[in-house]
């Protein structure tokens, strides 16, 4: 019976998505036909399906079995309304198992106003549902062919907090500046609020979360610099967000607030055959309330990754990446965490270190195969975050393997 209900639910979901895609396709194609001569409309999309197996953790599912919960679909359109105004939107369907809530969403839907441009400056204002344009991969973290790997480094791109950092409803101002002497600069600032689903709350807080987590305030800013004639590009970013939790009647948590401040420093080197990139993060998560009226905790986590991509030939790229993350920089072994939890939370929830190898093969134009394997020590980047699941995630060492086919147009 349960299986039948699940099948019906999946069937409805697929049918709804097909209708949504068909509707989007038809409307886009009709616009396309109307404006074909002026090339004002463009539409693109991607379809990705893979298989993933996390052995020794609940990263994908609780029974640790191999899973097909690695689906990413999207369709977007862009329409140049006037010389200065453009409309753009993208709808997605995602299924990542335990990593984040599955389903359809409006990824972005915005008005792009070209505020000012000359031979040195290009300034745009984006209003509507915007993305996070501040980290190396944040703007397209769900778009497989733009990522270096299937699973982004969790030290920085923690899936559990993705909805808190993926973007939201608000505005972004971007300015690109070119200096003959110093090179290219990017200045970005944005503010937006995202709607946090009850499933996202449970992923973050734990299964006893029956209340409403609300995104109250958000300010994000970044600056990038590529020195003149250099293959290096450096970036600095700051994000500051506040959340409040209103407990429901049956919630296992009390009212409370969460403040999340993150600082990033990143760099990329683009050689002919080699690409080297790194991104370092320091984040402070201040929790007040939730567990008891006067509960307060303010750990500062630190982490980051360094990776190399090697172009073996024009169709094959090879990736190697190392990353580290400490949930509390003053407790890198997790000893204090274990003590304050009365021994219920193992020390390995205090850190997560990872080594990844992978490859990307271009099978044909716009058709790609990605493969990767992760060796991981520690569970600090597993969910839930506030009350960790130490029963399922009792292994300090675990592994992850994934394969994914991607087609885009």
């Amino acid at each position: 019976m349960l299986l039948k209900l699940q099948n019906r639910k999946v069937g409805n979901m697929l049918r709804n998505f097909w209708l949504a895609l068909t509707g989007a396709y038809c409307s886009v194609v009709s616009y396309h036909a109307l404006a074909d001569n002026e090339q004002k409309v463009q539409w693109h999309g991607f379809v990705a399906q893979g298989a993933i197996d996390a052995d020794g953790s609940n990263f994908v599912n609780d029974d640790e079995s191999a899973s097909l919960a690695l689906t990413e679909l999207g369709i977007n359109a862009s329409y140049q309304l006037t010389n200065d105004i453009r409309l753009a939107g993208q709808a997605t369907y995602l299924n990542g198992g335990n990593r984040y809530p599955d389903g359809f969403s409006l990824d972005y839907f915005l008005v792009d106003w070209s505020v000012f441009s000359n031979e040195k400056w290009q300034t745009n204002l984006y209003i509507g549902r915007i993305k996070n344009y501040h980290w190396l991969y944040s703007a397209t973290r769900d778009v497989p062919m733009t990522r270096p790997s299937i699973i982004l480094p969790q030290s920085v791109y923690f899936d559990a907090t993705r909805n808190l950092s993926i973007g939201g409803d608000g505005a972004a101002l971007t300015a690109k500046y070119f200096s003959d002497s110093y090179g290219d600069f990017d200045f970005n600032i944005s503010s937006s609020e995202s709607d946090i689903s009850s499933e996202q709350s449970r992923i973050l807080l734990g299964p006893k979360s029956q209340g409403k987590l609300k995104h109250n305030k958000d300010l994000q800013t970044s600056i990038y610099w590529q020195p003149d004639m250099s293959s290096w590009r450096f970036g600095l970013a700051l994000t500051d967000a506040d959340f409040s939790y209103l407990s429901g009647d049956f919630s296992g948590f009390l009212d409370g607030t969460i403040g999340l401040k993150r600082y990033y420093f990143n760099g990329e080197y683009h050689g002919e055959k080699w690409t080297f990139s790194y991104e370092l993060l320091q984040e402070t998560m201040e929790i007040n309330g939730l567990l008891s009226k006067n509960f307060t905790r303010k750990p500062t986590g630190q982490g980051g990754f360094a990776q190399v991509e090697y172009l073996y030939n024009s169709d094959v790229k090879i990736l190697a990446r190392a990353e580290h993350y400490y949930a509390d920089r003053k407790d890198k072994t997790g000893t204090k965490l274990n003590q304050i939890s009365g021994g219920t939370i193992p020390q390995h929830f205090g850190y997560q270190h990872e080594f990844v190898v992978g490859t990307t093969v271009d099978l044909a134009t716009n058709l790609q195969l990605q493969l990767e394997h992760h060796w991981i020590k520690g569970t600090a980047r597993l969910t839930p975050v506030v009350i960790p699941n130490s029963e399922v995630n009792d292994d300090e060492y675990w592994q992850l393997a994934a394969i994914q086919f991607v087609y885009w147009f």
């Binding site: 002026e38 463009q42 993208q90 441009s117 290009q122 062919m145 733009t146 290219d184 134009t365």
Partner: protein, 128 residues
């Protein structure tokens, strides 16, 4: 291996007749094709046309003129297109289609391996 398969010919830039620019520096071209400059001097949007990534003329243009590998260009375009930040270049299938598309689209910019004096498009000089 990639370089050895390249013919020695250089690419030439073509633009719509109404585009006022008569020359572009290599640095400007890089900014245009990496989507950092999306407007002409008179503030009209630049409409980019490219050949498919696997096309030999595209590889030649990317490698010899822009000095950016085709897959890196594609990554830049995809990031912009799939985040809502910008508009991807329009892919045409052949040099003949490129010439026709650039000739009929205001603000268009494209490239060809060989083009003699042409009344349909503006041939732009590439300077250092």
């Amino acid at each position: 291996m990639f370089c050895m398969s390249m013919p020695a010919l250089g690419s030439q830039l073509i633009a719509h007749k109404e585009v006022a620019e008569q020359e572009l520096t290599v640095a400007q071209l890089k900014r245009i094709y990496s989507m950092r400059q999306t407007r002409w001097g008179d503030n009209t949007p630049i409409v980019l046309f490219v050949l498919p990534s696997q096309h030999q003329d595209h590889k030649t243009f990317a490698h010899q003129t822009l000095k950016i590998l085709p897959y890196k260009l594609e990554r830049i375009w995809n990031k912009s297109t799939f985040s809502g930040l910008g508009v991807a270049p329009i892919v045409v299938n052949s040099p003949e289609e490129m010439l026709k598309a650039v000739a009929k689209t205001p603000g268009a910019l494209g490239y060809m391996q060989e083009i003699s004096r042409n009344e349909q498009v503006n041939v732009i000089k590439i300077t250092k």
